[in-house]
Structures are given as structure tokens and as C-alpha cells.
């Protein structure tokens, strides 16, 4: 690796501002290194916005937050063309998606048309407004949130759309000790602004380094096996909350796509780089397996009727594949 500043420095800088939420911070950094996007599911008030804003500040990048509502239009996100009477011509006004770090808050509150516009921009990394195409900034990371507690008036994201997110993180409440530290840091003292520790050029160099991280053949086979078992999990047994033993295959309609295989490789490489290695380990794959798979597996109604937690099924499938 030839980069002087390391991704670990960025993580350390963010940890000085964000208390706990290591999963969210790591997901943000992995998305940055892997050129992907993150879907967060969790209650409000868990420092998601602060994490995104801090990341942008630590990189000297732009940060934009878009609150998704039922009356939002695609043009509110990507931009539009307005007629300039003084110049007597149409001028393009770029939307809030033109930023390095974008927080799409409560993405499931907007109708499918708006969701589709955002997800297409995430995929193509460019936006067409009228006759002109505009490339999105590089790096470009979208962190979309969903609130699991309040589902009234929401538009669930289809699996095909969710597949475009590199990973999905379930954000939980902080521990008691973390909450005490939050009190000390934000209620009892003046918060310190995040210090800039890297540049956007550094991020591009890190991405290139992550792309060069070695993934051994044994690890590739392990990754393929992990994805394959989501499609044929007859041998995996899980227990419901009531103590009934079920076959995982009976709870799954369809397994993860090959995009999940690629995501696992990208994320494992990113995690290796974050750890200062230029080769990936089974631990890297194991650590990112659940976030990379959980939003790509189609569970059926029995998951709810048998009162089984989806993460329990995913963990059982991961555990069923021995690491190399």
C-alpha cells in the first residue's frame, strides 16, 4: 500500500465523535472503500445523520440530507431544468444527490418512482436531466435509512431495489455505558467539530488499494458456498421463538443473487484494508456475510407465522459453512 494516510485514521477520527455504533461506522467506511451504498434499518435518533455528516467533514467532502416524504418528486432529488427569463434559455439546477455523502432519510416513505430515481443514480453514478447527463461526484456514498417501527404510509422497497445496496445494517440502541458517554460528550460539553484527516484523493487511492487486496482461492470458494447455501438450505436447521425446529429452506423463497457474491468479495477486501492487510481472511468474509446477505434473501410468510428472526436464519446458514 502506497497511501500515507490509512483508512484506520478515518475510523479513529469518526470514533472520536460518534459514541458506539461501530457497525455503522465500519459500514460507512466499507461502502466508501468498496464504492457501494449502505441501507440502515433502525429507530430514529441513533446518530445516523451525525455519522454521515462527520464522514463528509473528515474527508472535506460535501454532505446532503434528503428527507423522503410521500409527495417527493424525482426532480427534488436529481435536479431539474428551469427557464431563465433573463437569459431566455433553460438552465439546469442540480439536486441534492450531487454530494459525496448523501443521507436518504426514511427512503421507504417516498413512492416507488422516487426510490427508483435514487437507486438508478446510485447504480449508474450519473444523472440525466433533460438532454444533459451529469456525472455524480467521486466518491459518492448513499446511506439510506428505514424505520422499522412505523410502517404506516410507507412504500416497501422491492428486493430488486434493495439488491443495489452493498450492505444492510440493523442499527440498535446503544448500551448503558455508551449512553452515559453520549451524555458526557454531547450534553455536558461543547462538541468538537470533526477534524479533516483525509482527502477525497486519499479515498480514491484507498479504493484502488482495496481493489488490489488478494483474495485466495480457498476464500473465493468459501464465498460462493456461503451464497449458494441461501438458495438450498435444506440441511440448515433453525429454532423458532417457540422452540420448534425448522428447515431454513422452508422459510426462504429465493436466495441471494450473484451480486451478493461480488459484494462479499468487495466488502472482505475493504475490511482487510481497514485492518491494514493486503490479503483477505475468512474472518473478513464471516464479518461481512450477514450485512451483505440479509437484504438479498427473500423470506416467505412462514418467517412471521413461525416467529423466527431473519438474522437467526442467516447466522445459521453462515455457521453451516465451515471456514477454510
Amino acid at each position: 500500500m502506497t497511501v500515507d494516510r490509512q483508512p484506520g485514521d478515518l475510523r479513529a477520527a469518526l470514533a472520536k465523535t460518534i459514541v458506539g455504533q461501530e457497525g455503522v461506522l465500519e459500514a460507512l467506511l466499507l461502502a466508501l472503500l468498496s464504492n457501494g451504498h449502505v441501507l440502515l434499518e433502525g429507530p430514529p435518533g441513533l446518530a445516523k445523520t451525525l455519522a454521515c455528516r462527520s464522514l463528509a467533514a473528515a474527508l472535506e467532502g460535501d454532505f446532503k440530507r434528503i428527507q423522503f416524504t410521500p409527495d417527493l418528486l424525482p426532480s427534488d432529488i436529481v435536479g431539474t431544468r428551469i427557464f431563465d427569463q433573463r437569459e431566455s434559455r433553460f438552465a439546469t439546477v442540480l439536486g441534492p444527490i450531487f454530494a459525496n455523502v448523501v443521507l436518504a432519510d426514511e427512503i421507504n416513505r417516498a413512492p416507488a418512482k422516487v426510490q427508483s430515481a435514487l437507486l438508478e443514480a446510485m447504480q449508474e453514478r450519473q444523472v440525466t436531466i433533460g438532454p444533459e447527463s451529469h456525472a455524480l461526484p467521486d466518491p459518492f456514498v448513499v446511506m439510506a435509512t428505514m424505520n422499522p417501527l412505523d410502517s404506516e404510509g410507507t412504500y416497501a422497497l422491492p428486493i430488486a431495489q434493495m439488491d443495489r445496496f452493498l450492505m444492510k445494517i440493523n442499527v440498535g440502541y446503544p448500551t448503558r455505558e455508551e449512553e452515559l458517554r453520549i451524555l458526557d460528550r454531547f450534553a455536558m460539553a461543547d462538541t468538537q467539530p470533526v477534524r479533516c484527516v483525509a482527502t477525497l484523493d486519499d479515498v480514491r487511492a484507498w479504493r484502488a488499494a482495496a481493489h488490489a487486496v488478494h483474495v485466495d482461492e480457498k476464500l473465493k470458494r468459501y464465498i460462493v458456498d456461503l451464497v449458494a447455501i441461501t438458495r438450498a438450505a435444506q440441511s440448515v436447521a433453525v429454532k423458532s421463538a417457540g422452540g420448534t425446529t425448522l428447515k431454513a429452506a422452508d422459510l426462504i423463497d429465493y436466495g441471494a443473487s450473484p451480486r451478493a457474491t461480488l459484494a462479499l468479495v468487495f466488502l472482505a477486501r475493504g475490511r482487510a484494508l481497514l485492518d491494514g492487510r493486503d490479503f483477505a481472511l475468512p474472518d473478513d468474509v464471516r464479518a461481512v456475510a450477514a450485512p451483505a446477505l440479509r437484504h438479498r434473501i427473500g423470506f416467505n410468510y412462514r418467517l412471521a407465522t413461525e416467529n423466527v428472526n431473519a438474522d437467526v436464519v442467516i447466522d445459521a446458514m453462515i455457521a453451516a459453512i465451515p471456514a477454510p
Binding site: D216, K218, D278, D283
Partner: protein, 300 residues
């Protein structure tokens, strides 16, 4: 008169008897050696008077035969006979080989130790055991001493002696016949040397056993500096510390005693050698070898 066997022939004959029924490529037996002793029924044999050399082996296992036991080179002795006996009981197996020999020249010489090659059942490693050696002092026979006495006196004395000998032989033969009919007593060594206090009799400690295994792993890695050897050594070390296959390094490091010190360094180094890129493999194997050495030292 039977043709005398020369020394190499003796060795070959005895070795072939000891290893009777075993193929050249046969694998070693797995034994727990408890005693392995070489003795004789006299340490001061007379010239031209037969005596017995006895090899005694006791192992904890119950086996039908003992293979890969080599008798010493009996170059200064003439082999007259060989008798082997294998007895098993609940305490294990007693192997006893009695070689009848005769020596033709007076003087002092030493019979070298007998050897046994087997897998030590205590630690699973192939080893070679040795008996004690056997110093002998051979005396000239009475007939040779008497060769300088005057012929007349010799003839007279000889007649008396001959009569006495014949009488004694008759009585002895009768007693021997009675004795043998009652019970065939085993040959009792006149002076049985105490079994060598071999280290193998003491079960190695867990730390010693682990150190031996780590040193074996180091030998493998030094002999074959490849990815597959590194992967094999990694698997072996995981087995040594009791980690099942299928766990990740993180899982193993969370096991008690694995997350710190030389063992942690070793596990990390082996993980690197198993998964790093080809250009880094040589350096990774070097690091793993050094980590194996440090860990082995920490076990002493």
C-alpha cells in the same frame, strides 16, 4: 560337525528370526515400552562352554508378535540356538528371546545393545529404543589349563576324573530328567541388569508433547516452503490447541490462552501464510517459522 556361522551370517539369521513374518515396508508397531533389557546367565563365561544371552521386552499393549527388534552383532560368538517366547496378559506383552552362544577365545568384550523401532504410543512419534550393553569376561577352560601337566599324572588323574564324571553325569542326568518332567523352568539370568531408566517410561507432560508437535510442524515448514505445507501446518497447530476445523482465526483467538503471547503471533502468522498473495508467501512462511520457534521456546 556343524559349520560355524560367521558374524554377518549370525546377524542376518538372528535378524531374520526376530523379524519373521514382517515385510520390509511394514509399518512400525505402536507400543508403550516399559522395559527393554539385555542380560546373560553368566557375565564370566568359559571358553567353549555354551551360555545364554537373553533379550527381555515388556510393552503395555497386547500384541501377537514383536517386529523390528534387532539383536546386536554377536561377532565374537558362535550361535548355537535361538528361542523366542511372547506372552500376553492383562498387563501387556512380555517378549523374551534366549540366544544360546559359545565363545572360543578368552578375554574381555562387550555385546552391543539390542534395538527396537516402534511408534511410541505415548506421543505417536516413531522412536528407537536401546537395551543396556553387556560386558563379558571370558575365562580359559579347565582342559586348556591342564595341558601343561605331566602325562603320567594326567593319565592317572584323568582316569579317576573320568570315573567321577561319568558317575556325576549319570546322577545329574537322572535328576535333570526328574526335574524336567515336573516343570520346565525358564532360564533365570544369573545377574539381570536393572532396566535402563528410559525417559519413555514417564508420560510426557502436555507442554512437552505440544512442544514436540510444534517442532515437527517447524520441520515440515522448513522442508516444504509452499502454500499447501503452510495450510497443513496451520491445520495441525489448530488441532494441537484443540480448535475444530471450520472456525475462523477470530474464533480461535477467542479461545482461552490463544489470544495473547507467542501463540497469538503464531496463529496470525500461519493465517497470513495460508491466505496471502504469492509474492508474499516466502516472507510469510519465514515469519511463520520464526513464530513456531518462539512458541516452541515458550513451552520449554
Amino acid at each position: 560337525m556343524a559349520r560355524k556361522l560367521t558374524a554377518p551370517l549370525i546377524l542376518a539369521a538372528v535378524a531374520s528370526l526376530a523379524c519373521a513374518g514382517t515385510g520390509r515396508g511394514q509399518t512400525l508397531q505402536r507400543l508403550t515400552v516399559q522395559a527393554f533389557v539385555l542380560s546373560a546367565d553368566t557375565m564370566q563365561p568359559q571358553v567353549d562352554v555354551p551360555f545364554h544371552v537373553v533379550v527381555t521386552l515388556h510393552v503395555r499393549e497386547r500384541v501377537g508378535q514383536i517386529t523390528n527388534l534387532q539383536l546386536p552383532m554377536l561377532a565374537q560368538l558362535e550361535l548355537l540356538g535361538d528361542e523366542r517366547q511372547t506372552l500376553t496378559d492383562p498387563r501387556g506383552t512380555q517378549y523374551r528371546e534366549v540366544v544360546t552362544v559359545v565363545v572360543h577365545d578368552a578375554g574381555r568384550f562387550t555385546i552391543a545393545p539390542a534395538t527396537l523401532q516402534a511408534i511410541d504410543a505415548r506421543d505417536g512419534k516413531p522412536k528407537q529404543w536401546f537395551t543396556n550393553d553387556l560386558p563379558l569376561s571370558v575365562r580359559a577352560s579347565a582342559t586348556r589349563v591342564a595341558s601343561g601337566v605331566a602325562a603320567g599324572l594326567l593319565v592317572h588323574v584323568a582316569r579317576i576324573l573320568a570315573a567321577l564324571i561319568w558317575f556325576a553325569l549319570l546322577v545329574g542326568a537322572a535328576l535333570l530328567a526328574i526335574f524336567l518332567l515336573r516343570r520346565r523352568a525358564p532360564l533365570a539370568p544369573v545377574r539381570a541388569p536393572v532396566a535402563e531408566p528410559v525417559s519413555y517410561q514417564r508420560a510426557p507432560s502436555e507442554s512437552e508433547r505440544r512442544r514436540h508437535q510444534i517442532e515437527d510442524a517447524l520441520l515440515v515448514l522448513r522442508a516444504e516452503r509452499t502454500r499447501s505445507a503452510a495450510v497443513r501446518v496451520r491445520a495441525a497447530v489448530w488441532r494441537i490447541i484443540g480448535a475444530p476445523e471450520g472456525e475462523t482465526l477470530g474464533d480461535v483467538l477467542r479461545r482461552p490462552g490463544c489470544g495473547e503471547g507467542p501463540l497469538r503471533d503464531l496463529l496470525v502468522a500461519l493465517e497470513r501464510s495460508a491466505f496471502t498473495y504469492d509474492e508474499d508467501l516466502a516472507a510469510a512462511v519465514d515469519d511463520a517459522g520464526a513464530a513456531l520457534e518462539r512458541y516452541a521456546e515458550s513451552l520449554t
